[in-house]
């Protein structure tokens, strides 16, 4: 069900015009999914918010970028940022066996 919702919102984000509402909806959905996942320790929802949020926000941000170096730099920095954030989440809420 959550996947269907995210796919629906993402398809709205991918359209060329009038995607502002869908972007807000995506952010809301990601925030809600993250909060729910952390509160209930349902890490699938944390993963949903990370992946769908990253894909959606990236599609908006790189839409106008034509410089390949900037584009690749964006992916390097954001991927590292996401890794750091997710590792912190895993350390805080996951279990260190």
């Amino acid at each position: 069900m959550a996947n269907v919702l995210f796919w629906a919102v993402l398809s709205g984000v991918f359209i060329q015009r009038g995607y502002g509402v869908w972007s807000v909806a995506l952010l809301l959905a990601c925030g809600a999914s993250l909060a729910w996942g952390l509160a209930r320790r349902q890490f699938a929802f944390v993963a949903y918010s990370a992946i769908y949020g990253y894909v959606g926000v990236s599609s908006i941000l790189i839409r106008g970028i034509r410089d390949e170096i900037l584009l690749l730099g964006y992916f390097v920095i954001t991927a590292i940022t996401m890794l750091v954030v997710l590792v912190q989440i895993a350390r805080r809420f996951g279990r260190a066996a």
């Binding site: 890490f43 390097v76 590792v87």
Partner: protein
Amino acid sequence: MRLYSASSEETLRARQLLTDWAGDGFLTKEQYQRLEQGTVSDLRTTNIFLRLVLFLFTLIGVGAAVALFFKVFLSRPSEYTTAVFFLIFAVLCYAAAEFAASQARLYRYGIEEALAACSVGFLCVGMQTSLFRGSPYSAKPDAAQFMVPAAGAVLSLWIWRRFGLWYAFPAAMIFVLFLPGYWTLSHSAQHLTVAAFYATGLICVYAVRSRHRSDYLDDAYSIVAAFLWLGIYLAINLQLWSLNLPAQWWGGTRAGSEFARPFYWATWVLIWCLPPTVLVLGVRQKDRLVIAVGAIVAILTFVTNKPYLGWQRHTWDPMILGMLLTGVAVFIRRWLGRGPCGIRHGFTGERLSGKDKRWANAGSAVFGLLTPQSITPVPQTGGKDFRFGGGASGGGGASGDF
């Protein structure tokens, strides 16, 4: 050879079993807490969802970093330079994976797995670029080209052994698939070579596995044995290798015209011999994965038998197969249930663990994605006079000729 100590992995396995048993209600909360204290490991693990996400973002980061390096520092690199840097990145990725696992104590954490996977990819790309793109130091590029999949297979096997990543083994098996193509043009020989590789691996696994029946490595060898049995079957079932599979199956033509008749019919005999062999071995050793593979290859044998013989398939064939499978499943379940306490020879039809339920849920979710339309052939239009249309409005077009 393994990166993690046996005691660490054994402790993690015990912890996993404890979690399963507690989840199934076999342990009270007090028992679980008391036993859990004895299963503290220094390895850092995470759940499957975060593991997948970390794997994905590591792949994105490494891929983008390598591409950025080439873009910034090498504007128009020669093939030799490109290859050298790919090989350097392969070494760096592998070293990073080793560091993440040994120093940060990451265990199935996604990050070290992605780094190891990147090292395999970069090694293959680097070798392919350096050896087989008109490079001056490549005397016989075509003859030596097998080195690329061979290196991929060897590194994948090493990663499987070193990191204990189960999917590195099927990756190595896929690399092995490409090897015979560089050695011979004969399709029969290629099938035989692949099957021989897998059979050799299987013999090695069974020889080694007997020493690890009761420890944490038994699960790993069970997965490997299951994959190798499946690989051997797929290598000898010639009908599964056809490129235009649906048309050949439903059209009733044989895919084996390119093979010698003795070889073709020998493989037909083998696809009937292999499923019972796998099933018997799996049942005797109580190896669930091997039993599952035995069931899968048995079904594949039923499915491919008609195309093998060149017989015409019918739209009701899947239905008959489904009824047969249902009947077999119901019979086995009832037969087990009629045993003393519902148990026969150590097997029961009852669900014992929450794992079974998770497997069943995952299976039903996967099979739920396969709609009947995707496995049922499109009805063939036989006559030339067949015409669509003509249905009048009202009565649902019942007056039309379709």
